[in-house]
Every structure is written in structure tokens, then in C-alpha cells.
């Protein structure tokens, strides 16, 4: 097991290195921020002074090395636009996105998996067909449209829930959270539902497909032949057998939603990372983009690592197979 962990960690380091190069080159190619930042009528010598101050006159590889050197010391640079350290900027937006993402992904999983198992267990029941019909809807209707409908229905027409914003927050461990007050929770509800519908549909289909497949195996037939109750079979056998794909999707969804909840955050004016990255792209705020994308890459690498280690815990064949 230890060998397996070390091997996976080394892989992660290599991936991070490659990603940082790609991000750096990619963002460089998007456009020159100086075109946006420096007034067009600025005199040439001022222009060159500014460019030199940001180190943009040096060759790309040198810029990269300087950047990596700074990152190694925990410095991701300063935003061109806000003039504050990029890391502070990102960390200040993270809690909002984090609680939205966790609410959406956990909600989708804890509701979707039981519904999917049921639909796989009783494929011909009316309830199962209804569940599957709704999951197709969840897949095919665009997020922004559902978001608008949710706002129109629950905020505008019925007036039950706020239309946007984060509402009042409570500070715990120096971080602001919405979900700790009823008011904040009511602000969280609509965007979380909006964000979770697609994931809910995916979890339902994943759990259903897994359950149907597993139920046909000799393992389940043998468990039935031993007289296990259907409840025990589902809770002890089926759940564990379908866990691997569900954990994978759970992890990847967690990552991609943290990184790219852009549409929902925009519709609900949720002050999270998604809004930050959109703003930084329009203003070509290069340090924010680079730091953001590298942190996202780090997030995915970490999540993949955790998923792999979870597999090893869920399926004893994986870790021991890899170790031998």
C-alpha cells in the first residue's frame, strides 16, 4: 500500500509540472494584458516602464521560472486589476463556491444514489420510470434556463426565496459561511438546486446502471440462495459493488463544480470563484488566470489521488494487485 501511495504521489508531481507549463503558455497566448491595462494614449516610455515593472519584457521561459520560484515560496503574484495578492483574492472567494458546491454535490449524491438503486432494483415500477424520465430531463435541460425558471418561479412569482446573492454570513474559523443562518440557507437553496440537477440525473443513471448489472450476477443470486434479506443484499452487497464508479464521479464532480460553477454563480450573483475567473478573463488579469488554473489543476490531481486511494480501500484487489 505504501509503495502504491508513493507511486501515485510521484505521478501527481509530474502532472502538476506539465499542467503549469501548459497553463502558462496557454494564458500567454490568450492576449497581451497591457493592451487592456495601459491607456491607449499613454506615451511610449511610460508604456515600456509599466511592461518592465510587470516583467513582461523578458522571454517567456524566464517569466515562467520567476513565477515557479515565487510559487515555491507561496507567492502567486498580484492581480493586475485589484493589485492584491492573487492567493488572497482566490481564498476570499473560495468559501462561497465551496459551500455551494458541497451542497449541490452531496445533495445530488445522497438523493440520486438511493433513487438510482431503487430504479435499478425495480425497473418496471411506475416510480422507477418516473425517476428515469426526470433524470433525462435533468440531463437535457440547460442549467442557465433552469436557473432562470427557478428564479422566476420561486423568487419572482411566489416570493418564497431570494433571487440572488449570498445573504447574511456567519464567521467560523475566520471564514464566512451562509449555510449557518436560516436566511443564508434560503439564499443557498436555489443555486444549489440549480447546480445539482445535472449531477442528480447523472448519479441516478450511474446507480441504476450499476445496480441492474450487479443484480444479474451470481454473487447476488448466491446471496439470495443463502437467505439474505433483500435489504441486506442492497445495503451490504449492491452498495459496495457499485461504489467505485460513484466515488469517481463524485470526486470529479466536486472538482469540476468547484472550478466551473460559472453559469450558476453568474445567474444567482453568487460571489464565488466562477465570477472571479470570468472577470479575470475579460480584463486579461493574467496572474489571476494562471494562479486559478494551476490551483484547479492541483485540485483535480488531488481529487484523483484521493479517488484512487479510495478505490484501494473499497476494492481490496486494486491495492494488493498494484503492490505486487
Amino acid at each position: 500500500m505504501a509503495g502504491y501511495v508513493i507511486q501515485r504521489c510521484l505521478q501527481a508531481v509530474v502532472v502538476m509540472f506539465v499542467m503549469s507549463v501548459i497553463v502558462f503558455v496557454g494564458v500567454y497566448a490568450i492576449g497581451n494584458p497591457m493592451e487592456v491595462l495601459i491607456p491607449l494614449d499613454a506615451p511610449q516610455d511610460v508604456r515600456e516602464l509599466i511592461i518592465a515593472r510587470f516583467g513582461l519584457d523578458r522571454p517567456l521561459w524566464e517569466q515562467y521560472l520567476v513565477f515557479i520560484g515565487n510559487v515555491a515560496q507561496g507567492d502567486f503574484g498580484r492581480s493586475f486589476v485589484y493589485a492584491t495578492p492573487v492567493l488572497d483574492l482566490i481564498l476570499s472567494r473560495l468559501p462561497a463556491t465551496l459551500e455551494l458546491t458541497l451542497a449541490a454535490v452531496f445533495g445530488a449524491t445522497f438523493i440520486g444514489v438511493p433513487l438510482g438503486i431503487w430504479a435499478g432494483y425495480r425497473p418496471d415500477a411506475v416510480s422507477s420510470k418516473t425517476i428515469m424520465g426526470l433524470s433525462i430531463l435533468g440531463f437535457s435541460v440547460p442549467t442557465f434556463w433552469v436557473g432562470l425558471i427557478l428564479i422566476l418561479t420561486f423568487a419572482v412569482s411566489l416570493g418564497w426565496l431570494p433571487a440572488g446573492g449570498r445573504g447574511p454570513t456567519v464567521t467560523v474559523f475566520g471564514i464566512e459561511w451562509s449555510f449557518l443562518t436560516p436566511e443564508g440557507l434560503s439564499h443557498l437553496l436555489l443555486p444549489a438546486v440549480n447546480l445539482s440537477l445535472f449531477k442528480l440525473a447523472m448519479m441516478i443513471r450511474l446507480a441504476r446502471a450499476g445496480t441492474r448489472e450487479v443484480l444479474l450476477t451470481d454473487t447476488i443470486k448466491f446471496a439470495r440462495a443463502a437467505g439474505l434479506s433483500e435489504g441486506t443484499i442492497v445495503m451490504r452487497h449492491v452498495l459496495k459493488l457499485i461504489a467505485v464508479p460513484i466515488v469517481t464521479v463524485f470526486g470529479l464532480e466536486l472538482g469540476s463544480t468547484l472550478a466551473f460553477a460559472v453559469v450558476t454563480e453568474t445567474i444567482f450573483s453568487w460571489p464565488g470563484l466562477g465570477k472571479l475567473i470570468i472577470d479575470s478573463i475579460t480584463s486579461l488579469d493574467r496572474p489571476v488566470m494562471v494562479a486559478y488554473l494551476i490551483l484547479v489543476a492541483l485540485l483535480f490531481v488531488t481529487i484523483n489521488l484521493v479517488i484512487d486511494l479510495t478505490y484501494a480501500a473499497l476494492d481490496p484487489r486494486i491495492s494488493r494487485g498494484a503492490a505486487s
Binding site: T217, D218, K221, R224, A225, A226, T232, H237, K240, P316
Partner: protein, 323 residues
């Protein structure tokens, strides 16, 4: 013979597939005495496994027991509510499957799977279930059983896995175990060992066995009586020695002639010509007719079951007794 433990009468299990109705079991009747070992032989696809699963009510859709009766210790199992049936499975009637690689759950430890089987019927503590698991595993010949409770199936060889499956089937000392080719997937060297062990275990605990196999040689070394199955029906039955010495049904004769032991050395084995017919839309009459050297016009009619002196067969032109 003692009062029958298990009585099967006119059992019909059909699969309602898109292509049509597959009559996998079509009118099977037999009885099993306490402690008896009964062999069920036939080629692949003749309906042996479906018969076995039907006994435990383990037929999944699109299959269904459409007719007949299965009585275990006087209780009718066909049509019994699922809950009541579940309380009998594993406790009074258990089953061991063909492929031990597929039957155990790869992601649960051996101890957990044993405990689940024990606690399915007995409300005992986790600890007590583990104790009992270790004891049963030791009984089926797993060395160092207690230490191996935390092992996972992939750490066991095929033979060891099948022993675990047998232990699960034996956990409640059932009256009947249906053994569906439990040695077919194993190395030849292990086959005989498991065969022997299972017979001993059954003898010790007074458990009756329905031993399913496509291999007449295996069954004849084990079973006191055999049923020969063809295309979903029992075509011949009787005491093993009698049937082997003096088969009345041409199909049984064919099975016997195709055994390596009966063939002359150096000559190809006498395989029965043709293959098992599709059980989908079987034409009327004797299903063996297309492969039978003795077939005649009357074989277009279903042969009736003829029984006498503890044996029975279904053939219009039974083979003559060899003197």
C-alpha cells in the same frame, strides 16, 4: 425408502423472451429422501441449472415457474410468499454454484460474507457469528480458518473459494443442498477432493444432495440415484448402478458411449451426433428424435413416462435389457 424430503411434481419453468418462450424445464418430477445423494445429468443447456434454481425459487424474470409443485418437508414452495421462502433458503435448502470466482463478493471479506449468511437466519452477535464462521470454515477444510476470516476472495484459490461457498451453504445444516456443478470450474486435482469432502460433509450432517453435472462419470461415482435430463425433461431415472449397466433410453446410452472409460483406447470417442436442440419452440414429439438412431414415426408423439420397479424412462422404443 423414507418419506420424501423433497417432492417435485410436474415442474415447468419457462423464460418469456423476446424471441419466444424458452421451456427450460418442462414437466420435471422426482423425489429426494433424507440424506440421499441424487445425480442430475445432461448435456449443456438441458435445463439442469434452471431446475436447481427453481427448487429454491430463484428464477429471475423473464423466467417464471409456470406450473408444478416443489414440496420441501411437506411445505409447498411454489407460490410461497418471498419472505417465507427467504427464511427457508440457506436454512433448510441451500445451493452451491458452478463458478466460485463469480459467487463470492470480491469486495467483502470472507468473514463478512459468512457472517451475513449466518445472521440471515440466526439473531446472533457479530462476535458469535465470527466464531461460528471460523468453525464452519474449519469443517470444510480451510486451514487456519480464524486467521483467514479477514481475507478477501481473490486471496484464495478456486478450490478454497468453493470451500467457502460450501461453508456458506452448510452454515445452517440444511436438509438439502443443490450442488450445481460445484467442481466443474476447478482443477482436476481439486475436483475429486471437493467431491469427496462434500459427500463426507453431507453424510455427517444428514444433508441430502442434488448433484448437478454434465459429466456422467462424476455423478455415477457419487450418486445413489440419477436423473438423466434432456431438453427440459427427465428422460430416464433409476438407481445409478442399474441405469449405467442397463440404460433404457437411447440418450442415456449415448452419454455412456461417449465416456472415455468405455471407449476403446486409440479410437475417437463416440459422441452423440448433433447438439442439444434449442428449447425455444421445440417441435412436438420426442425432442431427441433428430439425433436418435432408433427414431420412428411414432416418435413424433410425445413418449409417455413409463415406470416400473424403481426406474422410469420416456421413450417409445426403449433399449433391450442387455443380458
Amino acid at each position: 425408502m423414507n418419506a420424501p424430503l423433497l417432492e417435485v411434481e410436474g415442474l415447468r419453468t419457462h423464460f418469456f423472451t423476446r424471441a419466444g418462450v424458452v421451456k427450460a424445464v418442462d414437466g420435471v418430477s422426482f423425489a429426494l429422501a433424507p440424506g440421499e445423494i441424487l445425480g442430475l445429468v445432461g448435456e449443456s443447456g438441458s435445463g439442469k441449472s434452471v431446475t436447481g434454481f427453481s427448487l429454491l425459487g430463484l428464477i429471475d424474470p423473464p423466467g417464471r415457474i409456470v406450473d408444478g409443485s416443489v414440496r420441501l418437508e411437506g411445505e409447498e414452495l411454489v407460490g410461497m410468499p418471498t419472505r417465507a421462502l427467504r427464511r427457508l433458503r440457506g436454512r433448510r435448502i441451500a445451493m452451491v454454484f458452478q463458478d466460485p470466482m463469480m459467487t463470492l463478493n470480491p469486495v467483502l471479506s470472507i468473514g463478512t460474507q459468512m457472517s451475513l449468511a449466518i445472521r440471515a437466519h440466526d439473531a446472533v452477535s457479530d462476535k458469535a457469528a465470527r466464531e461460528r464462521s471460523a468453525a464452519v470454515l474449519a469443517r470444510v477444510g480451510i486451514p487456519d480458518a480464524r486467521a483467514r476470516l479477514d481475507a478477501f476472495p481473490h486471496e484464495f484459490s478456486g478450490g478454497m473459494r468453493q470451500r467457502v461457498a460450501i461453508a456458506i451453504a452448510m452454515a445452517h445444516s440444511p436438509a438439502v443442498i443443490v450442488a450445481d456443478e460445484p467442481t466443474t470450474a476447478l482443477d482436476v486435482s481439486i475436483q475429486a477432493q471437493i467431491l469427496f469432502e462434500m459427500r463426507e460433509l453431507a453424510r455427517e450432517s444428514g444433508t441430502a444432495l442434488v448433484w448437478i453435472s454434465h459429466d456422467l462419470a462424476t455423478v455415477s461415482s457419487l450418486a445413489e440415484r440419477i436423473l438423466v435430463m434432456y431438453a427440459g425433461r427427465i428422460v430416464e431415472e433409476g438407481a445409478t448402478a442399474t441405469v449405467l449397466r442397463d440404460p433404457r433410453h437411447p440418450y442415456t446410452r449415448g452419454l455412456l458411449d461417449s465416456l472415455p472409460a468405455t471407449a476403446e483406447p486409440g479410437r475417437p470417442l463416440n459422441q452423440i451426433p448433433g447438439t442439444t436442440p434449442s428449447l425455444l419452440a421445440l417441435p412436438p414429439g420426442c425432442p431427441f428424435a433428430p439425433r436418435c438412431a432408433h427414431a420412428s414415426g411414432s416418435c413424433r408423439e410425445d413418449p409417455p413416462r413409463r415406470a416400473a420397479a424403481g426406474r422410469a424412462y420416456r421413450c417409445h422404443h426403449p433399449l433391450e435389457r442387455v443380458a
